[in-house]
């Protein structure tokens, strides 16, 4: 349901809103795209800030605009040589009334029009400019929520910057066509992800609950299972113990983990796996990766093709080395993803990057297969450090999960399997996946290549918004795309879940390490 607290449109609705400025005439406007306004002086208060939404009455209704820049002008400081001269002996303020010459001018971008008439009239495109001299007013929250496309009871990720308005996003608009969270390290990506998980866990059955799968590379979300509001609805799996059941894999699937296999090797592997499966059916036994290797080694046909056999064995041994393959699946995936629960795969203790690629590839593929068959509920898969698993330029051997992530990005919407892609290097992220994420939440990014990539890949992002991204503070974000009608600057709310386990600062970690070393030395000397 759309936010219904909005008052009806029309002049009466604006009567109580505070006037903050007056539209001025400039070389560029007012136009249908933008206008500038001089901001009223307000003692001890800043009447309007960059990124704030404002409104202006005009003939057809109310124009809604976002402040893109706020400038200060003061003629006493307009000429460098005069400033230097008058400032030589004393402060300019002690000679001239400089304060009374200071003007704040804001540049606003027109976003849409609330037409006069019933409150539920759709927001129209601006087709006529506002008039110079028109009053610019603050935007009331209810109306703004409706304008931006928020929903009562939606995913509440924080507050719209400079407005007392909760940013409640409609879940289907946010997740169904996938979401990308892009930001540099330390900008608050993990915090935002925690907030999203909390919101998904807090959803009531009647709102439609999703399963949540988290590929937790650094063990940042394991604390959801710590005592607290989410403990009962969270399952954390230490992926150093994760096992893929080899009997569940076809020869082709197994070959998928070994991208360097030649065609004869693939055929040989397929034959070996088929033999083992046949034997398992006949004798009721099971098998693991060692059995696959043994089967290849003892294959009489392959004994005559030693290069094929030896190469295949070497690659199977590489798989064995990952310790990911056994006769039984741990944990069993069936029943693992449930509505309103979070399943966190903690990869923190996994050090082998190849193993991580295999695990994510396997898990993602299996879950999607199950979802296609209706064996699991609609779910959201959150992939941290996505640029490592779905890179744009890496060889496929280092990007085992890219194919399946691309597939879900393209087709997941139809099966209600959603991706949340998180990356600190958008420039390295696969463009197909990024372009299929219809909503982007962008936090602070300063790398020019990443910014350029975001600018090209995020719909509706203006050059001015792009510039703002470099100056966002930790915990601030821009939402662009499907989930909102217009780019929205947001301050992410505080978390409700327990503190992350690995949240110590550099100093705390150093102190902890030395304390632990000291205790070990003391214990050793006591023992001696």
């Amino acid at each position: 349901m759309a936010a219904s607290s909005a008052p009806p449109a029309g002049p009466a609705a604006t009567a109580a809103m505070e006037k903050i400025g007056t539209v001025i005439s400039t070389m560029e406007g007012p136009s249908t795209d933008s206008f500038s306004f001089v901001i009223d002086r307000a003692e001890g208060a800043v009447p309007v800030r960059k990124d704030e939404f404002v409104s202006v009455e005009f003939e057809d209704g109310r124009v809604i605009a976002r402040v893109e820049a706020v400038r200060k002008t003061n003629r006493y400081f307009a000429r460098a040589e005069s400033v230097r001269e008058y400032g030589k002996e004393t402060e300019i303020a002690s000679l001239f009334p400089i304060d009374s010459w200071e003007f704040l001018v804001a540049d606003a971008r027109v976003l849409g029009v609330f037409q006069n008439g019933p409150a539920d009239l759709p927001v129209a495109r601006p087709t006529f400019p506002v008039s110079p001299g028109s009053s610019v007013r603050k935007m009331e929250s209810g109306k703004l929520g409706r304008f931006l496309g928020f929903e009562d009871g939606g995913i509440n990720i924080g507050e719209v910057e400079h407005h007392k308005l909760a940013c409640r996003l409609k879940a289907s608009r946010l997740f169904q066509k996938h979401l990308a969270i892009l930001a540099m390290s330390g900008a608050g990506k993990s915090h935002l992800t925690r907030v999203l998980i909390e919101e998904l866990l807090d959803r009531k059955r009647e709102q439609g609950r999703l399963g949540i799968v988290v590929i937790d590379i650094h063990g940042e979300y394991a604390s959801f299972s710590d005592p607290g509001p989410y403990k009962a609805r969270t399952a954390v799996f230490d992926c150093s113990e994760f096992q893929i059941a080899v009997p569940d894999l076809s020869g082709r699937e197994l070959a998928g983990f070994m991208p360097h296999l030649t065609a004869p090797q693939r055929r040989a592997l397929d034959a070996a796996v088929r033999g083992l499966k046949r034997e398992m059916r006949e004798k009721g036994n099971t098998y693991d990766i060692k059995d696959v290797i043994a089967s290849v080694e003892t294959d009489e046909d392959l004994a005559k093709k030693r290069p094929v056999r030896d190469g295949l064995i070497a690659q199977l041994e590489d798989l064995e080395f990952t310790r990911l393959f056994s006769a039984k699946s741990v944990p069993p995936l069936q029943g693992l993803v449930l509505p309103g629960t979070a399943t966190i795969f903690d990869l923190n203790r996994m050090t082998n990057p190849h193993a991580k690629q295999i695990l994510i590839s396997y898990l993602t593929r299996r879950l999607f297969d199950m979802r296609q068959r209706g064996a699991v509920c609609p779910y959201v898969e959150i992939v941290e450090e996505a640029h490592n698993f779905a890179p744009q330029t890496e060889k496929s051997s280092n990007a085992l999960a890219r194919g399946i992530l691309e597939k879900i990005a393209r087709e997941g919407r139809k099966f209600c399997a959603s991706l949340v892609i998180i990356s600190q290097r958008p420039v390295n992220l696969n463009t197909t996946i990024l372009s299929q994420c219809n909503t982007h939440i962008i936090m602070r990014v300063t790398n020019p290549n990443d910014l350029d990539n975001i600018g090209k890949g995020s719909e509706g992002i203006t050059a001015e918004t792009l510039r703002s991204i470099t100056t966002l503070r930790v915990g601030e974000a821009f939402i662009v795309g499907e989930a909102v009608n217009h780019p929205v600057p947001v301050r992410i709310r505080d978390r409700r879940s327990p503190k992350p386990r690995h949240s110590a600062t550099l100093e705390e970690s150093a102190r902890e390490f030395e304390d632990a070393s000291g205790r070990r030395r003391e214990d050793a000397s006591e023992f001696v």
Partner: protein, 359 residues
């Protein structure tokens, strides 16, 4: 060849400037020489100020209430109407030991301009004269109201405090009434300032006068002949922080009759508050004790003007000028509003020269 003739004309112009500069430098050197001579040779001119050609103005932090007044004017000619926009603003600065502690405006910091339409069939020169009458009338009227309100120590007009003789209008002509109202405004301000002990002065930025050099060279100190402007001659004759003695306006003014007895109360000197700027001419009103009044006026002007090495104008005048200035946009907006109310008429059509079919 056109290029050759232009080149010759440019050379000729440069040559005439070079010659004038030689004349100016000679006159300037002469003044410096006179300034260094014994005082007796100048006693007729400036007995009240110690018979000195140039006087030092002490540098000190100014303390007091200084009121600056300036006016802004824009005019536009239409097919059958002339529109003149005028406004005047008074700015009060209160200084304490050289620091601005308070400021106020009259009637406000951004007053609406007064539109004046001239529908009579006047020549362009007469319209210009009208503007030159209406503007000081407005300025002096505003100055009087502001002086009544603020009671400053000194009132600084931007420009002369005596009307320009060229603006004198025939009392029976179309501008006669405006002219007499202007004179009335001048006299009203003089009277109020003299009665209330308010120093009244006018700062003339770009004076074209040469009365000073003429009077010095005619006082028995025979110097080279020059009709250069005083400010040009004094440019390097005066040092920073110096002023000339005070000259009476009475003999020079052709308006003595219009101003009545006040003509004998108006004096002027040149002062150089900024090292790399030309001197400014300062008119002032003095009932008696010209020397003491000149000293007080010079002190206020110098110590509120000396902060910029290349622009020596009182700070209050700079502020008043900025506040009074009218912009073309103001003229367009008011002209549009008048047109809207007057309705369509050929009288308000733009002039052809502003409406060419091609740029």
């Amino acid at each position: 060849m056109a290029v050759d003739s232009l080149s010759a004309a440019l050379l000729s112009a440069a040559e005439s400037i070079r010659n004038k500069e030689l004349e100016r430098a000679g006159a300037s050197a002469f003044l410096k020489k006179v300034a260094a001579r014994p005082a007796a040779s100048l006693s007729k001119l400036c007995a009240e100020e110690g018979a000195s050609l140039f006087l030092k103005v002490p540098e000190a932090g100014y303390s007091g209430r200084i009121l600056g007044v300036d006016g802004g004017l824009l005019k536009e000619q239409y097919h059958g109407v002339d529109l003149i926009l005028i406004r005047a603003v008074a700015v009060l600065f209160e200084y304490c030991d050289g620091k601005l502690s308070k400021h106020e405006y009259f009637p406000s910091e951004n007053p609406a301009p007064d539109p004046r339409t001239i529908t009579a069939s006047l020549s362009e020169m007469e319209v210009l004269q009208a503007a030159n009458i209406l503007r000081p009338r407005k300025e002096f009227g505003t100055a009087l109201q502001a002086a009544r309100k603020f009671r400053p120590d000194i009132l600084v007009m931007h420009g002369s405090i005596v009307p320009h003789p060229a603006n004198r209008a025939d009392p029976k002509g179309p501008l006669g009434k405006d002219y007499s109202e202007m004179i009335f405004a001048y006299k009203g301000l003089y009277e109020f300032c003299l009665d209330n002990g308010i120093l009244l002065c006018g700062v003339i930025e770009d004076s074209r006068d040469n009365q000073f050099y003429r009077s010095v060279s005619a006082s028995g100190n025979v110097g080279p002949e020059s009709d250069c402007r005083d400010t040009a001659i004094l440019y390097d004759a005066l040092e920073k922080g110096e002023r000339t003695f005070s000259m009476s306006h009475e003999g020079a003014s052709q308006l003595s009759g219009d101003l009545g007895g006040f003509a004998s109360n108006v004096f002027s000197f040149y002062i150089k508050p900024a090292e790399f700027d030309r001197p400014v001419k300062v008119d002032f009103l003095s009932g008696n004790g010209v020397g003491a009044v000149a000293e007080r006026v010079a002190h206020a002007v110098h110590n509120t003007s000396r902060f910029n090495r290349s622009y020596g104008i009182p700070t209050v005048t700079i502020e008043a000028d900025s506040r009074a200035k009218l912009r073309e946009e103001d003229l367009e907006a008011i002209s549009q509003q008048i047109s809207d109310r007057a309705g369509p008429t050929p009288l308000s059509l733009a002039l052809r020269r502003k409406n060419r079919p091609f740029a």
